[in-house]
């Protein structure tokens, strides 16, 4: 399976099943799908393939291709095929089935340390922190049991992840600190390594919190939507006043004190700012180097929800952002945009790529009172209540349903080139938009595919730059 597209003047051919990325000239770009067609019809030998391609090319109104050049191109194509770098077959389905059938371990928890919030963000899937339920703060006792459960359920996994999430976790900061200390006390005796992360709206951030976070948190996610007017519109206090001015100076301090690493300023774009590249640019101009601005996920009934008709504008905005991203990198003023980051050389193994996000199996969300849900986005939906910190996983049927969820269980993912980069997408989004975790969130898929295309094109453009430097 191949996926080919033109972006920023680059003819890109992705050999989906091997992950190889080829940047080709125009003739090759036209010929590659024709050779695939011919091979599917059992055409063999460079001469026969060239004859087939020449015949198909003559049907097109585009410029004819010289016979010698055609043979040369097909020679290169066959060389890549022989090397397992083009037209590679999908041989992973059984492997992924076996992988998913391994014993279940839990390696990551999203601790809902506070079901309460000091902001009233309009798009909050947590309903201003309360997740369709009641206000509550997690006690140390519940958190301790959650960490004990994690250690006991993690099998031979060494690296364990715990995200302090909310609501707003800084509303329950003492418990966060106590749980970090407790987690550290478990590391040596159990041969584990905790990676703690914090997601915050920044309102309560202060020097004491920052000092602790810089010592203990592997990553901090700082919520900000971009330009002041955009941020304040969607992220107001409960009284309506914006939060931009109070959080930006604090975020700058976080970024600098962490040497511009291991943090993200993280925003959400909505129908109110389809020109979200401007928000990313704004954050970069403010000096942030780790940026994530993501599409809102909201019911169609919300005025700010993204609509199908918005897709062309959003895709064009990603293109615009990609060009800006390259330009700034080349000027030495680059930043990282989370959704354009792609690790082609050291990226994840195929098991990681195709087995799904791990929700409901290796990743669980824990409510303030200790209930388990498959992930933070299912919290409050009682049909997904899986167990609790006292009794462990009770609804093993829910766990098993999530365990079976992988790209091969999803009809729409099977033939999608992006499946190796999104792992079948978000189960919660699939459920909320299609009624099944094995379904798809179509709008999200369109945006994801575009981001993958941009990310690969950026790699091609930056590789070009490297090459120019060495010449």
């Amino acid at each position: 399976m191949i996926h080919q597209y033109v972006s920023n003047g680059y003819n890109i051919v992705l050999d989906v099943n091997s992950g190889c990325v080829h940047v080709v000239d125009e003739i090759t770009y036209r010929v590659i799908p024709l050779v695939e067609e011919a091979l599917a019809q059992n055409t063999e030998g460079i001469g026969n393939l060239a004859a087939y391609a020449a015949g198909r090319l003559s049907e097109s109104s585009e410029e004819p291709v010289e016979a010698l050049a055609l043979q040369e191109v097909i020679g290169e194509i066959l060389e890549l095929k022989e090397a397992g770098m083009l037209y590679t077959e999908d041989i992973y389905e059984q492997y992924i089935d076996e992988f998913k059938n391994r014993g279940t371990v839990v390696k990551a928890l999203c601790l809902h340390i506070a079901h309460d919030c000091n902001l009233a963000c309009q798009y909050c899937f947590a309903q201003e922190g309360e997740y369709h339920g009641r206000k509550a703060l997690m006690s140390f006792e519940v958190g301790r049991k959650a960490l004990d459960f994690l250690v006991a359920s993690s099998g031979s996994r060494v690296n364990l992840e715990v995200d302090f999430f909310g609501g707003e976790p800084l509303l329950n900061w003492q418990v966060v600190k106590d749980l970090v200390a407790y987690g550290r006390s478990l590391e040596e005796p159990h041969h584990k390594k905790f990676r703690f992360t914090l997601t915050t709206n920044g309102v309560l951030l202060n020097d004491e919190i920052l000092e602790f976070a810089n010592k203990e948190m592997a990553n901090i996610v700082l919520s900000i939507d971009g330009r002041k007017k955009i941020h304040d519109l969607m992220r107001p206090h409960r009284g309506g006043q914006g939060s931009y001015d109070e959080v930006v100076p604090k975020y700058k301090k976080v970024a600098e004190s962490r040497n511009q690493m291991n943090y993200y300023v993280r925003g959400t774009f909505t129908r109110n700012n389809l020109d979200f590249a401007e928000d990313v640019r704004h954050l970069a101009d403010e000096g942030f180097e780790q940026i994530s601005v993501e599409p809102v996920v909201a019911a169609d009934t919300e005025a700010y929800a993204l609509r199908e008709e918005d897709i062309p504008a959003i895709l064009a905005e990603y293109d615009k952002l990609a060009l800006e991203y390259i330009r700034r990198k080349k000027e030495g003023k680059g930043f990282n945009f989370f959704h354009f980051m792609i690790d082609l050389e050291g990226g994840p193994c195929v098991a990681k790529r195709l087995s799904g996000c791990g929700s409901g199996t290796e990743y669980l969300a824990v409510t303030p009172w200790g209930d388990f849900y498959p992930c933070h986005q299912f919290v409050g939906q009682e049909e997904f209540l899986m167990g609790n910190v006292d009794e462990g996983i009770i609804r093993t049927d829910i766990r098993d349903t999530f365990k079976r969820c992988n790209v091969y269980a999803k009809e729409k993912c099977r033939d999608c080139f992006a499946k190796f980069y999104c792992s079948g997408g978000c189960a919660a989004n699939a459920y909320h938009f299609s009624g099944s975790i094995d379904g798809a969130y179509d709008l999200g898929c369109e945006l994801q595919k575009k981001r993958v295309e941009c990310a690969i094109m950026i790699k091609a453009a930056l590789a070009d730059e490297e090459k120019e430097k060495t010449l």
Binding site: V105, C349, C426
Partner: protein, 47 residues
């Protein structure tokens, strides 16, 4: 090659042999909490 430039990529097929250790980051523990992005994550063994 004259017509084709190939970017350096990890051999995905090859990763079947030694992959699947599970030590890598869970996708939602990064910046995302509303999508699933694995392509940008690093292999723990390659760190």
């Amino acid at each position: 090659m004259k017509h084709i430039k190939t970017l350096t990529t990890r051999d995905v097929k090859e990763s079947m042999k030694k992959g699947g250790c599970g030590e890598c980051q869970t996708s939602c523990q990064s910046a995302c909490k509303t999508s699933c992005t694995v392509g940008n994550q690093s292999c723990e063994k390659a760190r």
